[in-house]
């Protein structure tokens, strides 16, 4: 049996992995969206029903889930802008890798602004 020639398996680089991450985050956000519209729809049932369900969003475990959800949204948003630039900006394909690191940088800056405040709301004194 002949051995496979070495080094021919495409393992992707920044372009492929950002595409994978875009799909994964997109699907996660979509399933949350379905649940989120339906839980918000409880405002039409009664104030008690809505408050009971939204109360579960305010527990520490769900608070961590919200942090993950926001992280997925922030990456999908910034990487989506990058995809648009790759498609429509003449130099987009040339700078696609650079732009991914810009996306990653903006992601960390945005999360640094969001996480402390959100985690204080979730775990801090409050009520």
């Amino acid at each position: 049996m002949p051995t496979a020639p070495a080094g021919t398996l495409y393992r992707g680089r920044e372009g492929m992995w950002s595409w994978v991450a875009h799909r994964v985050t997109g699907v996660l956000i979509f399933f949350f969206l379905l649940v989120h519209v339906l839980d918000t729809a409880l405002v039409r049932v009664s104030p008690e029903a809505y408050n009971a369900v939204i109360g579960t969003y305010q527990t520490p475990i769900m608070g961590l889930g919200e942090a993950g959800l926001v992280a997925a949204i922030v990456f999908h948003a910034f990487n989506g802008i990058r995809v648009i630039l790759v498609d429509f900006w003449a130099k987009g394909p040339k700078y696609q890798r650079t732009m991914l690191w810009v996306v990653v940088g903006l992601f960390f800056v945005t999360m640094a602004g969001f996480l402390p405040r959100h985690l204080m709301n979730v775990f801090g004194g409050g009520h």
Binding site: P47, Y50, Q58, I84, F114, R117
Partner: protein, 154 residues
Amino acid sequence: MAYGTAAVAKVDSPRSPYVRRKTTRGNYELYSWIFMRASGVVLVVLIFGHLFVNLMVGEGVHAIDFAFVAGKWANPLWGVWDLLMLWLAMIHGTNGVRTIINDYAQRDLTRGVLKSLLYTAFVVVVVVGTLVIFTFDPCPPNAPEELLASFCTA
């Protein structure tokens, strides 16, 4: 003569427009590709605004309850904001998942079942969400006063 009228008749009129695409399947995928980009830009603004107001301002997620929603939707801007966000996000997300199903579900039956479920979920969620925004009553009768926005009792 070698070049009889029969051969000449097969040549298209020089005035007939050049048509590259010979099929008539439409430009659906092109429009869907454009929509993903156009709606994506708008959704970045709508969702970042939504997250900022609901999670960052004041006590964040702890402040959200029925009265909070009633207070927001008392301003028509937030009604329009949420309605636009609902429709754009649902179409954008449904179209994205449709692409993924087309990529990975190879059997016709599997693809058909998954897309039927997807489109059913789309219709249910968009209809329910739209009805809720348009028929919301911020001060429902018989509800405990302490759960309602202050403008219900004032």
